[in-house]
Amino acid sequence: MIALIGRELRLSLRHGADTAAALLFFIIAGTLFPFALGPGPTTLSAIAAGVVWVCALLAALLPLDRLFGADFEDGTLDLLLLSGLPAYGVAFAKTLVHWLTTGLPLLLIAGPLAVMLRLPAEKVGLLLLTLTPGTMLLSLLGTLAAAITLGARSTNVLMPLITLPLMIPTLIFGAAAVTSPHPAAALYMLGAMLLAALPLAPLAAGAALRAAAE
């Protein structure tokens, strides 16, 4: 699995434009809100956490269609399934690489973006705390959606249609944790969802990969 992760990371570095596109989308989408709503700190600070969360969610979707798509088209998926790793192991490795190359960079940029959107300084740490499990959930559920839609004709349309509804609970609890005066409950919910998704999403994605390979 370590060899697979290393190879996937190397491929991601060689296709750096894909990662850069997701990050640029995140930044540009976030900066559109002050232009549309005005630079007033009251309005912006009230919506900053939600804006960062929604933009992160949408940005994380961008690389998903290539997560398995290229492997499916060039025959690599067969090799991955015959690598000796169980299919869920392949899915987990892909999830981890998606988080390392998309979720983690989004997390690093989220802080400056939140400050630009006038999120109170004392809330920035909490936002990043929610985004850490949040981006992991995005990667887990996104990988599942990518596996389910593999081989479908309209992947680009199906992907958000499957992923976005799955992400709504994460979005609700993630944004609520930042804005609520009592964030602990929402943080616990995020943690619980992550603990549930960690084994289940790769298992389901693995089954979907095997079905796509048939």
Partner: protein
């Protein structure tokens, strides 16, 4: 004693029954060539033998045990060469298989070249190098000589003979009359 035995295999592709009542047996050092017209099910049979496509009926045994019961274990004895090369354009040839394996297929000079700059035949040789480097006992090869010139085909046949001489097994689909000694032929 045969190491790999297939009894009355049947395989669907989608809703269509592509193969039925396919049986064969293979021992160490054995070669089985799959022949048949386009659509006869050669690739489907190879995928079924690899466990990529489920069997609708029949049994595949390895050493007397159900070969497909433990898929990760089955995968560890299979070297797979599909009709697609599974070559990543952004990786170099050496990053695909390692420098040592490239020598076996005459690609040492291209070790540091990104695979996107290789010709179709060179990519096929790179895929063959991956099979050779795997050191797995059973090679499943789907039209392995596609895109290869005569010299590369001869080199490939040499690699096959060396593999079976060491006790390995090969099952390959092909349209060509590959000159492999003691190869069995299964017409589909």
């Amino acid at each position: 004693m045969h190491l790999l035995t297939a009894d009355n295999l049947a395989v669907f592709r989608g809703e269509r029954l592509v193969l039925s009542n396919v049986s064969f047996a293979l021992s160490n050092g054995g070669i089985l060539l799959l022949r048949g017209a386009n659509g006869a099910g050669k690739s489907t049979l190879l995928r079924a033998l690899a466990g990529l496509t489920p069997l609708a009926a029949g049994t595949l045994r390895w050493g007397g045990e159900d070969a497909l019961e433990d898929m990760p274990e089955h995968a560890r004895r299979i070297a797979w060469l599909g009709h697609l090369d599974a070559v990543k354009p952004a990786l170099t040839a050496a990053e695909h298989v390692g420098v040592a394996a490239l020598a076996a297929v005459g690609l040492s000079a291209y070790a540091e070249l990104p695979a996107r700059l290789l010709s179709a035949g060179q990519k096929r040789r790179l895929a063959i190098a991956r099979v050779v480097a795997s050191a797995k006992p059973l090679w499943l090869l789907d039209e392995p000589t596609t895109g290869l010139d005569a010299a590369s085909v001869a080199q490939f046949l040499g690699l096959c003979q060396a593999h079976v001489a060491q006790g390995g097994m090969i099952i390959a689909s092909t349209h060509l009359d590959l000159e492999l000694s003691d190869a069995k032929v299964l017409e589909l």
